[in-house]
């Protein structure tokens, strides 16, 4: 599942893996993943110019690309 992927990546990049929470929310046919990490770890999951966040989004896109229902998974980091 998409959230397992994001959780794995986040937990392996932060200093405080216990501070990682991931919430999955349906929004119409799309899915929203809300990733929260400890304050000091924000930069680690976002990255320079959002590069880490964008890499995670690329992987999510690859996972849902050939989904017939046109479902999208949106990653929000807050």
């Amino acid at each position: 599942m998409e959230e397992d992927l994001i959780r794995y990546i986040a937990e392996n990049l932060v200093n405080d893996p216990e501070g990682v929470t991931l919430n999955r929310r349906d929004a119409g046919r799309n899915v929203i993943l809300e990733l929260r990490v400890a304050q000091g770890d924000m930069g680690r999951v976002i990255g320079k110019s959002g590069r880490v966040a964008n890499a995670m989004r690329s992987l999510l896109r690859a996972m849902t690309e050939d989904d017939h229902r046109g479902r999208r998974v949106i990653l929000e980091i807050e």
Binding site: L5, Q39, M42, N54, A55, S58, L59, M63
Partner: protein
């Protein structure tokens, strides 16, 4: 955590506005580009750039002189030693305090990617797949991380380790992790975007676990290896064309590591010179004949 969102005509303008509002320098925030500006058609439907600036929790006492490698990930301005290319291009040093606008975010990012891909441009393997025992810790951990990622992406694949051809003398050994299986086409993505994302994440996690740079190239079904070979041939063909027609030839837009392959492929030729022009996704290589004097 303090963060604000700003809009502007360009990404740079939006960042500058955000910095002004927060009253901080570019070094104190992380910038996430939420939306690139779009010009729209004849000015209709134009959308401004949107960025989010996040204050870094680094208002602590000065960092120790040698920051731990982990800091590399969050630092918006990595050590200059990693960026000899950009240093050359920069105008003579200005006192940083007087810098009212940040370095243009977009080109800075492109340069950073170039640097990052620099050593990994050549994805051509030497020899056959090797066993885990013949590889080093970086390669073994990278393979393990990659398999964990693939499992969570619900892709049933195996990963082989190969040695990469070195692009210059005395550089560290690079490893290629080649993914094979039935769904690997899905892992390539548009212009190799998915592979780049996987590679980036794998390198980040490996260098966090093991310290030091992870010289890892992630490939799928030999896509990069053959793409690299085709690009080298294309580069030489276009160079010949530039010479025979006596004009500059412009290639299609390419991602940073592919442009790098073209530059490197023609570096040894003295009859042509290469340059990258354009910004972001539209950045492309031009090949021009060199007039022999």
């Amino acid at each position: 955590m303090e963060s604000i969102e700003k809009t502007g005509d360009t990404v740079e303008a939006a960042i500058a506005a955000g910095l002004a509002e927060l009253g901080v320098t570019a070094a104190e925030v992380m910038v996430e580009v939420l939306e690139e500006p779009s010009r729209g058609l004849f000015g209709l439907g134009a959308k401004p750039a949107r960025v989010r600036l996040i204050m870094m929790a680094s208002r602590r006492p000065p960092e120790p002189p040698a920051p731990p490698p982990a800091a590399k990930i969050t630092s918006p301005e990595p050590p200059v030693t990693e960026k000899p290319v950009r240093q050359d291009r920069e105008k003579p040093a200005r006192p940083p305090r007087q810098r009212s606008t940040p370095r243009p975010a977009r080109s800075a990012q492109t340069e950073a990617e170039d640097d990052d891909e620099d050593m990994h441009a050549m994805a051509a393997p030497t020899g056959d797949e090797i066993s885990d025992e013949q590889a080093d810790d970086h390669a073994r951990v990278a393979k393990e991380v990659l398999l964990e990622l693939l499992k969570r992406m619900e892709i049933d694949a195996r990963v082989g380790i190969l040695r990469a051809e070195s692009t210059r003398d005395g550089e560290e050994m690079h490893w290629i992790l080649n993914i094979t299986g039935k769904n690997t086409a899905r892992l390539i993505g548009r212009r190799g975007e998915t592979l780049s994302a996987l590679q980036y994440i794998v390198r980040l996690i490996v260098s966090r676990r093991l310290q030091g740079r992870a010289n890892i190239i992630v490939d799928a079904g030999g896509y990069k290896a053959s793409r690299s070979e085709r690009l080298k041939q294309l580069a030489n063909r276009m160079a010949d064309q530039a010479l025979s027609q006596g004009r500059t030839v412009t290639l299609e837009p390419m991602p940073p590591h592919e442009r790098r392959i073209v530059h490197l492929a023609l570096r040894a030729r003295t009859d042509v010179m290469t340059k990258s022009i354009g910004e972001g996704d539209a950045r492309k290589v031009t090949i021009s004949p060199v007039k022999s004097s």
